[in-house]
Symmetry: D3
Subunit: 187 residues, 6 copies
């Protein structure tokens, strides 16, 4: 099963963390894993993996953000993007448990017309990597933004993040099992 | 892009439709496709591909159901299950646009504690196949069930189904493109 | 991790057990698994998956055999054959711990010039399947054979089999992790 | 079939040789290949691909080592690690033919409680690469070590290495054929 | 390298030959192989693997045809169709060496507006299979057809077929090597 | 479908263009694409991806060349080389429509014993990339060369290139569909 860890120390996310084995090297967690941490998010164009954002000259900034990083091995990138969309759906569903009404648009989450999230999925030679960030504080964002704390009033970010990582790890496990319990079909 | 088609004729879903090229042979749609139709759903144990249901002796029945069948080629089964979960999330999100509050539990959709859906994903030699069924009428179901019409009051099933197929086809297309617009990462 | 189970009841191995989800349907173990059991082994040509044996008209018979069956999902057949060879190596190594000198020749184990084992790996639509059988009693075998009990004097087959399954499950797990802990290389 | 070559010239192994097309560029052998050579082995932490060793601060040193390098194309990394384990098993079996008793622990070979080998498998964009080194001389090693010559008394390293490469190339070929001679199974 | 064999005995092609291990079982050629033979070709709708032809009610008939069957393992179907197109191109090029002007349209070969060939590629659990047939005699064909002998005057079918099989086996080998001799590219 | 674009501006091809997302970043075409442009071609050894050419010390030069670059995602390199051979066949066939007699030798096109083309296929982390260049002017080439204009007299390079790109995009689409319209085969 995907290992999960909430990192209590603040980490400034600058894009370089979306790198193979960053989790393993920094937190000694080997294999498929998802971690979460809080901190400023400031990704310069030169660090961005989303070429569309580079072309559109849209760097990423958030004064204070909850970031999830997951690395999963032996997976192609299209499947990696599907695993990203699943993470986004699970975040949406966890927010719904808190009573919020959220709209998902691909890998974006929107509350009251304001952007809550950024996300990207990419590939290394041996793995896929996903970053998903949720604003905690919305001020200073380059677009109309919403924040988990500033707009939604969620105070206990650690519990919120841990619930999401747990649900994600369990559903990926469930999906792998779902692929083992059906008979193939013929014509 | 995945082709979509709403089939106006009623079809009784008995499980045999979850078969390679059923869409192509019956509706002359070649390649990746999703179709929807209405009719009774009555899948005997002998026709079920979900071995878990067979072990638990849980045949599927619905007096009147909206069924989606999608066949997609050149995809592994784990990725196929992820594509199933995406379809379930999109159905949930479309119901939310209609104003309903829906809970997703893996590949199950639940309204007010009552089961709205059944779903399975499987593999043939050349493709993955997904069936997702939503009760239109809930009476006679083997479990506490909800229906699109009987409980939720949705009358225009064709529009509802078409919206879902369109959103699904567009998001799969978007996911494929998302895998082409990011630079790989190194260490 | 691959689940392991020693089945105390005798099972006559006739080839039909090398079938997708045989483990799941009979022992309710979902996902990657290896099981072991004892019984007569009598595989008719019509049941054999090894076409080479069919061409050579070599049915398989053993009066009393320890059989391992493993099913593993989301794996190609070449990798499946490599996983078979690993199982054979682990059986050889476990016999060495008991003090025996064993020769491996591909997927055959040989003791004192006599054949101890039969093995085959094949594929279903969703999985690879391996059967490896070790004679417990050698009499009546179609070739010069050795038996775990009749020649080697191993009495506690259950412990012997359980050690092998445990070592195999651990090494497959270790191999999966080994693929997650190395940086890729460039030129 | 995998091409094999024993390189008579000494080569100091510093890790940089575990690089895509190193064999092709240096020895003009195109395609899947395994080569062997002798020389000092001195891999600094900065050159290591095994992140676990880097984390544990365990550089590799051997005063005089027999190194095997193999590059194989169109293979995933998990299968690459399985092909590494096969190489280790074959080395063990060749040593057994010389009359030694060897223990394998994953990708380590141990004689009389002393480590004989180092090994790693990794991936490039187009291939997997494996390095396996066997101490010839054990003095100066960072752990309790055994050497082919210093402890085991094997003088003709070239013959020993050539036997291993030959057996490895033949078994990989045999494994590929084994995947072509079985009928698939259905349920 | 793909093994090649011209079968001197006549074989009536009825579609059932496009089956996994047909080459191995009948001619004892293990692994990737291509064979050629002559005979009547009469494929009923019930035996056809091309569903498009079934839908269009287009059975295949040729009074006397040169048929190629190739089975190749560990290949996906899209790649299998590319390998089919390569075979078609090589047949075209061999005909050009004989001085003929040929047009290729996908997997069809056309001479002077008349159809020379039929072809299909499909998949089994462990392999891809291709049938390509070239009319030797054109009379009795269901469409305007050309024949190697009746229109083009080629008498020595065995030499012609052998040249094609040899060129095909060599180019597949060359393609595999071409994938091993380029460095990967980065951004 | 693969997007196509003829670039009217001259571009000097120096090898650096065979790089992931070069098409997307420069022409804002996302996803599978093929582009064509004219210009001098001057690839130094240090920029070459074909290691065979580097070993043989064969840099590439053409005074004026029509270059095709295609990037296709989610494809392995062996399949990428097959897609390169298809492009070469399509160029040959388009030249035949213009009335020329062309010989293909792997990925080389030859007219009257003179080399018309250069081509290479390689891989990035997320895609395969192909460059195929056709001399427009043959003078100054390092080998006996032919040119589209200087020898063959083709004046309208843009139309010629556009026909090829269109035919290539259509056939790749046709190949993908061909893999969706056949039933799998069993034994």
């Amino acid at each position: 099963m995907i290992k999960t860890k909430y990192i209590d120390n603040e980490i400034k996310y600058i894009g370089s963390q979306l790198s193979p084995h960053w989790i393993y090297k920094n937190f000694n967690i080997m294999g498929d894993a998802i971690v979460a941490f809080c901190g400023e998010c400031d990704v310069k164009l030169s660090e961005m993996v989303d070429i569309e954002d580079v072309i559109n000259n849209e760097p990423i900034y958030s004064k204070y953000m909850l970031s999830f990083i997951t690395e999963q091995f032996n997976v192609g990138l299209t499947e990696g993007v599907l695993r990203q969309r699943l993470l986004i759906s699970i975040i949406k569903e966890n927010l719904e448990k808190y009573g919020f009404k959220i709209t998902r648009n691909g890998d974006d989450l929107i509350v009251d017309g304001k952007k809550l999230s950024v996300s990207i999925a990419t590939k290394s030679i041996t793995s896929i990597l996903i970053h998903t960030g949720l604003n905690i504080l919305s001020e200073g964002a380059p677009v109309k933004a919403s924040g988990l704390k500033s707009e939604l009033g969620i105070e206990d970010i650690k519990t919120f993040a841990t619930e999401i990582m747990q649900a994600y790890a369990e559903e990926i496990q469930d999906i792998k099992l779902a692929a083992t319990k059906v008979r193939g079909v013929y014509e």
